[in-house]
């Protein structure tokens, strides 16, 4: 699996396939990226579970906080990790003790742990690193195009009506669009130590 650049078909299959998402590190503060993503995904029809031991007893967009993955008490399809790269491995280790196993480990924008990814993949899970599911959902559904973002998709098919609370179709036929490969390479070069 090339974790530098994911094909749209890979991301689309994940976002179409999962129903229950546990978000580790979800914040009740409404200016935090995890809050944005949690609320957005809940509005798109995902069964969202906020995981944060510091907020048990409170709700996030009406969903009760849970202390840890093993306390969820029902199967989850995807674990979305809103933690720094250095805190990924323990979460993946805990995820791999769940029964049944989750299908997907997703590490948030800025987070990447290749060793944890390899461990999860060896157990048969799919892994996405350094991406935001809200941004990817918005991109593949064209919703993010309202913000002038390069969705990197083209389509001659009519987009679905963007109605509040309705799960947008990610299945509309499209082909690859404007590539950012050169920019992606340049960004990677700049973050590598000189």
């Amino acid at each position: 699996m090339n974790h530098d650049a994911y094909d749209d078909s890979y991301i689309r299959e994940i976002l179409n396939g999962v129903k229950t998402i546990a978000m580790v590190g979800a914040s009740p503060q409404n200016v935090r990226p995890s809050y944005f993503a949690f609320k957005y995904l809940a509005e798109r029809g995902y069964d969202m579970i906020p995981i944060n031991p510091g907020h048990v007893g409170k709700n996030l967009v009406g969903k009760p906080f849970v202390a840890s993955l093993k306390d969820i008490g029902r199967p989850v399809d995807m674990i979305d990790i809103f933690r720094n790269s250095s805190h990924i491995m323990p979460v993946v280790d805990e995820a791999l003790t769940l029964s049944p196993l989750p299908k997907v480990i997703w590490m948030q924008l800025g987070a990447r742990d290749d060793a944890a990814a390899a461990k999860a993949e060896a157990a048969g899970l799919k892994v996405v690193m350094n991406r935001c599911p809200k941004i990817e959902y918005g991109r593949l559904s064209s919703e993010i195009s309202w913000m002038g973002v390069n969705s990197r998709t083209l389509s001659s098919k009519r987009a679905p009506m963007p109605t509040h609370g309705q799960r947008l179709s990610l299945n509309r036929m499209s082909v690859g669009g404007g590539s950012t490969l050169a920019a992606d390479r340049a960004a990677k070069d700049k973050t590598d130590p000189a």
């Binding site: 078909s9 944005f36 957005y40 913000m147 002038g148 920019a183 960004a187």
Partner: protein, 425 residues
């Protein structure tokens, strides 16, 4: 299966322009409206808080403009874009995100005269101090770097001289200094040069020129390459620090590699106000569909006319980077192998007076202050676009008193040569 990456001409027609979800309209509709209804109070709050993607008010975003933004972002290979009212507006909005009063930016000395004025006078009044460097001598950029430097600004193909800037060399200076490189790509258009592939972090355009092509609508755009880490050293608080305008959101943390385009929209455009009319966006989009075809013809005509002029008895010299005699020929070959653009200058043996006479006698070339039109255009920069500079600065900017600037259109080149010939006789 690896996703196929479409070619430039396909993107020029399709990027951003998916059929309208409500009506199925295939051409992008003109959403000529100031405002957009909210679904409910929570939706409105989500939009204002940047928690949801969507439309609020045309000063901040508009669906027609958004198609234009995605189109140009795709053509440049950037992550996102923001369309504004003009190229000048793009420059104000970009620098507002990067500079505070007392900060500096380095700019190439060879620039569009309007940019030189904007940087020298208007921006100075904001406390944004420009330091000039010579695009033909990259070390002058390096020497101009100070702890207050926040950005470097160059043109890919410089106006009016048509000289080519060594983008990669300047990008290396910017990278070493830890500041973003801004490239004005107006005269090249992404068809000829894609600055992001050579190290640009931000690309700006006057859409009014080759991208629109028809000379009927003003517009500007900012493209975010997504390559710069705004949070690494606290130099760019508009992107890295909690924004009081939005209850403490940190833009880079929230929007990742398109945070700069979002900052330009929600901090720059929202508060400064230079919004692009959706009607202009529609006109510019229509123009972009034929950008590849037009640029091929612009370059073919320009190369033929520049070569013909260089052998004309009334002409002293021709500055066209696509001619082997040009000092920029190698740079043109490297950065713009499909053509060196369609804006260049030449000087007449008869000097200033011959230039004035030429302009007055032309019958097809229009004497006006624009470039990148389907029509061929001519101007005498020393008395117009660069008139506010002193003589030494005019010469440094490539706009000396004997210089005439042409913007070659897509007419039949034989007719253009005949017009120039009769005007020089």
């Amino acid at each position: 299966m690896t996703d196929r990456i479409p070619g430039f001409a396909t993107l020029a027609i399709h990027a951003g322009a998916q059929p309208d979800p409500t009506t199925g309209a295939r051409t992008t509709p003109i959403y000529q409206t100031t405002s957009f209804v909210f679904n409910d109070a929570d939706h409105a709050a989500s939009l204002f808080g940047l928690q949801a993607f969507g439309n609020i008010y045309t000063r901040i975003g508009n669906p027609t403009n958004a198609v234009l933004e995605e189109r140009v972002a795709a053509l440049e290979g950037g992550t996102a874009a923001l369309a504004v009212a003009s190229g000048h507006a793009a420059q104000v909005v970009v620098l507002q995100q990067l500079l505070k009063p007392g900060d500096e930016f380095i700019a190439a000395r060879k620039l569009y005269g309007g940019s030189i004025n904007q940087f020298t006078h208007a921006f100075k009044s904001f406390g944004w101090n420009v330091a000039w460097a010579d695009p033909d001598d990259v070390e002058t950029f390096e020497r101009a770097v100070t702890p207050r430097t926040k950005a470097i600004f160059i043109e890919s193909i410089a106006n009016p001289s048509g000289s080519i800037t060594d983008i990669e060399a300047v990008a290396a200076v910017a990278r070493k200094a830890g500041v973003p490189l801004i490239v004005d790509n107006t005269l090249a258009s992404p068809y000829l040069i894609r600055p992001i592939e050579h190290g640009a972090d931000i690309v700006v355009h006057s859409l009014t020129k080759f991208l629109a092509g028809h000379g009927n609508s003003l517009g500007g755009i900012i493209v975010d390459a997504g390559t710069f880490d705004w949070s690494k050293d606290g130099k760019y608080p508009m992107l890295s620090e909690p924004r009081p305008e939005y209850h403490g959101i940190k833009l880079q943390e929230t929007f990742g590699n398109f945070a700069f385009a979002i900052a330009c929209r929600v901090l720059g455009l929202r508060d400064l106000g230079p919004a692009l009319s959706p009607f202009n966006a529609f006109m510019i989009l229509t123009g972009i569909e034929t950008l590849p075809l037009r640029m091929q013809k612009h370059c073919e005509n320009s190369k033929a006319i520049a070569g013909w002029l260089s052998t004309h008895p009334a002409v002293a010299s021709v500055n066209y980077s696509g001619l082997p005699s040009s000092p920029y020929y190698n740079l043109a070959h490297k950065y713009a192998p499909k053509g060196a653009g369609a804006v260049f200058t030449f000087s007449l043996k008869g000097g200033y007076d011959a230039g004035v006479k030429l302009v007055s006698k032309l019958k097809l070339f229009s004497h006006l202050a624009n470039v990148g039109d389907t029509r061929s255009l001519v101007i005498h920069p020393a008395s117009t676009t660069h008139s506010q500079l002193d003589d030494a600065s005019k010469t440094k900017a490539g706009a000396g008193p004997d210089i005439v600037r042409l913007s070659i259109g897509i007419e039949d080149k034989e007719d253009l040569m005949a017009d120039l010939d009769q005007a020089m006789s």
